[in-house]
């Protein structure tokens, strides 16, 4: 029982990341009709926002203290991070919470990047075939990746979780189900965070006038245009939001997986599978499929399962995708008539 619960938890936090990326992909596809292969790179870019923020916090002033010497006899260098010097205790605190705090940096960066990307490149590809959209965004992903590699190097850069959430949560104890069920705090936080972001996107689309217009535009772009609404601009903003969602997913994922420049590509392939399984253009489908595939994957990596079918953990997601694509042409929850062929 505990083992099963643990696997579900395991799957949920991974599924959270898949769901967030897939949500952005679907949003972009549903509004702009663009297949964005650079979405994984946006996820990676978000993760590197956290890295940059941490680096900024670690900028230090070096003062040589002439009255003291080190063990080697040279003058002692006193290093104080600027944040601590400027903000005192709060700076310390900020240091500890650098990953969640970097959301403050990530949101404007990703929004601006997303909007610039849409205006500068994607909008010229609305009318071009999907194959060309895939190709140009694939090229863009390579470019983003290589630029990041140039500035941050090729090695993964571990980011610490805040010390308060660094330990293990005894979930079993909390739920009153036995002592053995323990799980890292940060992954629970990640799950809650992804649920929160998904909820926020849904609220935005479902309960605001702006979101309502966007949804109307997804259904019938032309009519919305006839009503005198500048739907293009709204779709641009939606692209920015999709970029922010991918970026936030990346920021919060850094303590779980140390970011490196090609992390986005790995997630992209999986997220595309998630989108297709969920159904092109269906937001609910993307989220459901994200969590579903995350859980399936973690069940497949249990030793008991691997003993029966060796290697299943490596291929389960793709296998599910193949089966779903061949049996349900629209995916799990795809809308009728959207990319059925």
């Amino acid at each position: 029982m505990d083992a099963i619960l643990l696997q579900i938890l395991n799957g949920l936090d991974k599924g959270g990341a898949y769901a967030l990326i897939a949500l952005g992909l679907t949003l972009v596809f549903g509004t702009l009709g663009v297949v964005n292969f650079a979405h994984g790179a946006l996820f990676m870019l978000g993760a590197f926002c956290a890295v940059t923020f941490n680096k900024l916090l670690n900028l230090e002033s070096v003062v040589i203290d002439p009255t003291q010497t080190t063990a080697w006899g040279s003058p002692l260098e006193v290093r104080t991070p600027y944040v601590e010097a400027l903000l005192g205790d709060f700076g310390n605190y900020l240091h500890d919470y650098s990953v969640p705090a970097s959301i403050v940096l990530a949101i404007p960066v990703m929004l601006i990047f997303g909007i610039a990307m849409e205006r500068g490149l994607i909008r010229y590809f609305y009318k071009r075939p999907h194959a060309e959209q895939i190709l140009v965004t694939f090229g863009l992903a390579i470019v983003i990746q290589e630029v990041i590699k140039h500035f941050f190097g090729a090695n993964p850069i571990p980011q610490p979780a805040p010390s308060a959430f660094g330990g293990t949560a005894y979930v079993g104890q909390i739920l009153g189900m036995g002592q053995t069920l323990a799980y890292p705090w940060w992954r629970i936080i990640y799950l809650l965070f992804s649920l929160g972001v998904i909820g926020a996107v849904f609220v935005f689309l479902q309960f605001t006038t702006y979101g309502m217009v966007v949804r109307a535009g997804m259904h019938d772009r032309q009519t919305v245009g006839f009503l005198g609404i500048n739907i293009e601009r709204r779709f641009t903003v939606v692209f920015g939001i999709a970029a922010v969602v991918a970026g936030l997913a990346g920021v919060m994922y850094t303590p779980i997986l140390p970011p490196d420049y090609h992390m986005g590509m790995e997630f992209l392939v999986l997220s595309f599978v998630v989108v297709v399984v969920g159904g092109m253009g269906s937001l609910g489908g993307a989220v459901a499929a994200g969590f579903l595939l995350g859980i399936l994957q973690s069940f497949a990596s249990m030793n008991e399962v691997k003993a029966i079918i060796p290697g299943i953990d490596q291929i389960i997601i793709y296998l599910v995708a193949v089966v779903i694509l061949l049996t349900l042409p629209r995916g799990l929850m795809g809308r009728r008539g959207v990319m059925e062929d």
Binding site: Y124, P129, G139, Y318, A321, M339
Partner: protein
Amino acid sequence: MFKGLSRNDWLLLAGFSAFVLLMPIILQPIGAAYPALMQKICIFGIFAIGFNILFGLTGYLSFGHAAFLGVGSYAAVWSFKLFTMNIIPALLMALVFTTIFAVAIGYISLRRSGIYFSILTLAFAQMCYNLAYSVLTPLTNGETGLQLTLKDPRWIDAMFHEPGAGLPRATLFGIDTSGGGLGGFYLCAIALIVCFFFSVRIFRSPFGMMLRAIKSNQTRMRYTGFNTRPYLLAAFVISGAYAGLAGGLMAATDPLAGAERMQWTASGEVVLMTILGGVGTLVGPVIGAGVIKYFENIFSSFGDNTLHGVFGFLPDIIEQPLVSFLSLFVGEGWNLTLGVVFMLIVIFLPGGIMEGLRRIWSRLNRRHDGGEKIAVAQPQPAE
């Protein structure tokens, strides 16, 4: 077999063969005339020609072609390990196994089209890649890659002569192909010419016409009573076999195989080559493969010092920022150059280098003929 080609096709074939066979002389001035690079160009040329038969003719964008390359390599290395160091059985093994793979994967993937086809092929390739790394380690030797060892049985070789000391080399009836000499290059060059010939035949045949018809309007083809599936499957299998042959040749020139050949970035590379050269053209893919492999070689060997040497004549205040900017694109940053060039090509010149040449040609001609417009075929999406 030799009918159906026009005089121009024969000229093209002759010119192409002459160029490929004379590469060691022609490429001398640009410093690319060493066998390791030239055979790489030939191998990737074959890979890209094969990919072009599928993508260029039918418009089906496969993102998993590298799987066939990997399977071909593994099959060839196993033939070296089990039977003989002669490359003929190895290449045959590579072809047979990739054909089987391509029939299976193609049969399933071709039930869908458009982006779903891309995702399906990608999924299969990733499955192959992941399995090669994990469960299939006895077959693929995991991360280390499959290599020759002294303990290999090599039954057929063992029947004829005693195994010598040290690892044997891959040979073609005594001609050494894996030593990095010209033997390996000429093997690949001849294979490339043969492959090119077959691709010309396919392009000019009714079969090729059918594939192009599928690309321009599959629904109409179905309405007129053609079952398109067998044609698509045939194209997929042919292009998979090309990839397998390329993988086999990789093993023949350097007898080892690793799973990273199957990764989806490797599939992306062949897409880049084909697009860069020109989708749906005969020589485009080979040009794309050649250009990418050549510049990869040149650019990755560049460093800051080379750049300082080149721009040394500029005043320091301009030179420093220029060099530090350009150093982004060379050495380690070769992939960045590739990405940028690729984006530019897709945005401005979807027909690739061949399209560019054709535009220049038509502009020159117009000046001579007084404004006769030459119709340029537009690439059509797969519906």
